[in-house]
């Protein structure tokens, strides 16, 4: 079973009288523990592709299957539930909640999903375990403003892994980092993803980072390279 399968996915937007094609009949299969780099220039459709893959957007045409779940026809409510349970996101600007500690930034994923009592206790235990594995357990009570860029990135990765997703989507995870730190973050992503048997799609401009991935997929004008 694949972690992600896009079948003839098309996404169009209406701009005045004109139809803009953001994704043009994209086909992509990501295996269970595969790490894919998605590269392409600005406006090529990278964000649209990972948004559709992660249930942030619905396709105009085609099928999106994550694990064993076809999310193509999901309602907004179903997609919200899907995102909270089945995928992990790491955003370009990290986007941690500024008034939550590192540990709380992980637990919030479960809390947003309505975790109480035993579920919340288990979420806290998992957050502690992830922070430990990511090497920042000693920083668990610090607010994002008190963490370094690398530590914040680790917290963001931990947050993406909280709900034990089959698929993690990374949006330009190294764009705000220098080369050395970028490489360390990519190593971390690779180790975490591979170590857990999780699939990942990494959107990146930085071709120096693509060698950490199993496969590189290029996208131009909404079309994936064959």
């Amino acid at each position: 079973m694949s972690a992600l399968e896009l079948k003839n996915v098309r996404k169009t937007y209406q701009s005045g009288d004109e139809e803009v094609v953001a994704l043009d009949h994209a086909n992509l299969t990501v295996s269970d523990d595969e790490l894919i780099a998605l590269v392409g220039p600005s406006g090529s459709g990278k964000s649209t592709l990972i948004s559709i893959s992660g249930g942030l957007l619905t396709p105009t045409e085609g099928a999106v299957v994550v694990g064993d779940e076809d999310i193509s026809g999901y309602s907004s409510k179903q997609l919200t539930q899907f995102r909270s349970e089945r995928v992990g996101f790491v955003f370009q600007t990290v986007n941690l909640v500024p008034f939550l500690t590192a540990r709380e930034n992980l637990v919030v994923v479960a809390e947003l999903n309505g975790a109480h009592g035993g579920r919340r206790r288990r979420a806290r235990a998992r957050a502690d375990q992830l922070l430990d594995e990511l090497g920042i357990a000693h920083r668990h009570s610090h607010l994002p403003a008190e963490l370094s860029g690398g530590e914040r990135q680790r917290v963001a990765i931990g947050r993406a892994l909280m709900n034990e997703p089959k698929l993690v989507l990374f949006d330009e995870p190294t764009s705000a980092l220098d080369t050395h730190l970028g490489e360390r973050v990519m190593e971390l992503i690779r180790d975490e993803v591979k170590g857990r048997g999780t699939a990942a799609v990494i959107v990146t401009h930085d071709e120096r980072m693509t060698h950490y991935c199993d496969r590189v997929v290029a996208i131009t004008d909404g079309r994936l390279a064959a």
Partner: protein
């Protein structure tokens, strides 16, 4: 909601401006409510204390106890009305009273009565009175002999009663003979013959409105009878005071809602990208909306708590002559009003929250 409460705890400064403004509005609401209650209760205590169902005025009195006169013959006709079970006379004279050792006159309402109202014992002997506690602020003490009215009628204070004043004048409850003496010496032009009272407090079979109608019909229109609640509101200025204050209080509640609405709209605009991120992580709109409602509620509760304490402190500094009465029931209604207005104000942000786009989390929008 946990997220919303954590934000309040970790970034309290963000909510200070709204809380301060709401606190000032709470102080204003409690002061207005306290003045309304003080004016209303201070003006109507003598009537509210009556055990009667109906108050009977002379027809030409225009609902004024001071102008009304019921002579013994008219009283006898009222007593004969079917359904009337008890009739007692009541008279009120407003006069200045000299308190021993004090240079200024105390404003008093000398009330002559037959049937004991609620909280007042049976009529005292001639030359004695039950005094309302309001008069303590004027230096009146139990056992003192006051000089009442221009004639300085000596009246000894026998004990205290509560919440029985009339038109903000401290009540002195006396027997009918003492009242007539005060009335005759202070208003010789409007002296009261023996057996005549200002109004009658009548009890009888319900409903009171029908009883009032039957009494007026039996006296061929020589009386005008009001139910007790109508009589209370007919006290001079009472209805106008209530409607004026109620209007100001209502507008102030509206301002509370607007302040909260404006504050949370600005706050929502400021953190719209955070909402996008939280939605991308799986937060539903109702959950985020509940967080805003929770924050609005907490801001309202904190503002009320601080406002209540400030009001109690300020009230303690005010002179007793100012008719400010802070009642628990007013505090409860203000609390309910402020928190409800705060939550309603918070709902104005819901549309923006609903439209927060999770796509903004990855730097793109629809």
């Amino acid at each position: 909601m946990i997220l919303a409460l954590r934000e309040l705890r970790r970034t309290p400064r963000r909510f200070v401006s709204a809380t301060v403004v709401l606190t000032l509005l709470v102080v204003l609401l409690l002061f207005l409510g306290g003045l309304l209650d003080g004016l209303y209760l201070g003006s109507t205590g003598a009537l509210r204390a009556q055990r009667a169902d109906v108050i009977v005025y002379s027809a030409d009195a225009n609902d004024s106890i001071i102008r009304s006169r019921i002579d013994p013959a008219l009283r006898a006709r009222v007593e004969r009305v079917p359904g009337v079970t008890d009739v007692s006379g009541l008279g009120i004279t407003l006069v200045g009273t000299t308190v021993p050792g004090r240079g200024t006159l105390a404003d008093t309402a000398v009330i002559g009565y037959e049937g004991a109202p609620r909280g007042v014992s049976a009529p005292p002997p001639n030359g004695e009175a039950w005094a309302d506690r309001r008069l303590a602020a004027f230096g009146v003490r139990v056992g003192q002999t006051l000089g009442v009215g221009p004639g300085q009628v000596p009246i000894r204070v026998r004990g205290w009663v509560r919440d029985t004043n009339y038109l903000l004048q401290g009540a002195l409850w006396v027997n009918p003979a003492t009242w007539r003496q005060v009335q005759d010496t202070s208003r010789p032009d409007a002296s009261v013959p023996l057996g005549t009272f200002a109004v009658l407090a009548v009890s009888g079979r319900p409903p009171a409105r029908e009883l009032a109608h039957d009494i007026d019909a039996a006296t061929n229109g020589e009386t005008k009878s009001l139910t007790k609640s109508q009589a209370v509101l007919s006290s001079p200025g009472t209805r106008q005071q209530k409607s004026t204050f109620a209007g100001i209080i209502g507008v102030t509640f509206l301002v509370v809602g607007l302040v909260v609405a404006l504050f949370f709209v600005l706050l929502t605009i400021e953190r719209i990208s955070l909402y996008g991120v939280l939605k991308a992580l799986g937060a539903s709109t109702p959950r985020l909306a509940a967080g805003v409602m929770t924050q609005a509620l907490v801001v309202g509760i904190v503002a009320f708590g601080v406002g209540e304490l400030l009001t109690l402190g300020l009230a303690a500094l005010l002179p007793a002559q100012i008719p400010l009465l802070l009642q628990p029931s007013r505090a409860v209604s203000t609390f309910v009003g402020v928190t409800a207005a705060a939550v309603l104000g918070g709902t104005v942000s819901l549309r923006r929250i609903a439209h927060a786009d999770p796509m903004t989390a990855i730097g793109a929008t629809n």
